[in-house]
Symmetry: C2
Subunit: 247 residues, 2 copies
Amino acid sequence: MILETADQLEARLMEIGAERYHNNHPFHHLMRDGALDKGQIQAWALNRYYYQSRIPIKDAALMSRMVDPELRRAWSQRVVDHDGTREGPGEGRGGIEKWLHLCERLGLERTYVVSEEGVLPATKFAVDAYVHFVRERPLIEAIASSLTELFAPKIIGERASAMLARYDFVDEDTLSYFSARLTQAPRDADFALDYVKAHAETPTARDAVCRALIFKTDLLWAQLDALHFAYVEPRLAPPGAFVPVDQ
Amino acid sequence: MILETADQLEARLMEIGAERYHNNHPFHHLMRDGALDKGQIQAWALNRYYYQSRIPIKDAALMSRMVDPELRRAWSQRVVDHDGTREGPGEGRGGIEKWLHLCERLGLERTYVVSEEGVLPATKFAVDAYVHFVRERPLIEAIASSLTELFAPKIIGERASAMLARYDFVDEDTLSYFSARLTQAPRDADFALDYVKAHAETPTARDAVCRALIFKTDLLWAQLDALHFAYVEPRLAPPGAFVPVDQ
């Protein structure tokens, strides 16, 4: 498909999301339907911590490649959102701290989560691929790889309402990470979408933007594949991986 | 465990191999036992091609970090083994060409294999993690990550004899890649083992060597996890992945 205009690019990006975003993954369906046990949700939160922890590293790498101060200023809000403005819980806490709070409420030891021991190697390979992609690919592709945030509000809403409704170990406070993301993700996604629409000026450049989004959907999908394989079916966790507690 | 001597290091490396090398993976057991169908072996060969194709890239990256010409000369044989001394089949063909020959004998189109379309994203993330590791980590860890070749002859022998005995679409010529590796791998492994034994001079350095080998066993294991998940159980191949033919 030859993408002649910015609007055709936007339409194609939406199609990619509809087809490939990880809200279509069986593991997400199990979570949405309340069919995961506590140990499986622990495994998800533990592995997802690794992803969360690398997002500001990814964004800093991206900023290091931006020559325009205005662009860096706009992008730097993402790092602040994840790292917060001060250490620990309370006012100014960032997304990583909120995620650690979620992990603790799920019964995981904070020091264990932060140690990154027990994280599935496949999670690390997929997440690290994201950091390397952003370091190595042309800037417009690096920015385009963030466009999965266009599709985030739907999956966040499904996760949060299912977890509140079906798991008695989850409450609104546990899910504070998600409530913040519901406003942050659309703001970030709109910025990145406007950028790629304005800067991808040829069909070839628009195709590269689409491929960057596919790369990103692949790495989110691969993370759920690895969780599903290790903790749902056939439950073959690799050597050294987290073993659920408090089942 | 504190590794006080080079011999203790060697013993620990052997333990890691015994515990974590992918000859222990259920997917390998299915292959060894002749329980995989042709489509599953096609998926394995297609994905493994991506690994093969990146090995000389990994070795070139490693050589680019070696200051000692003697070390580069010794290591360069690995690149020759994979790339060959001339294009195409026949005298001087390298390991990649032999692997493509295997893929063709399994009924895969050469152009499709080389296109890398259909390769599982998880395969790419794991293999690319190897290339990045070798580029970024200290030289001794980069060398240590090649030490899985210590354990290669056993798995090669099991694969080759099972494939010859149980699959009528496989013959000796199909498996020429493996026969060459049976002499190349021990030569390379002995060189790397001597290097890390001589150059890891503290318990901390020996521990780093062990962690590099664990990293490598993890990425081999993750490749079989992904194949098993997509093509054996629960057979949930991700969007865009290879669909077996000629079942």
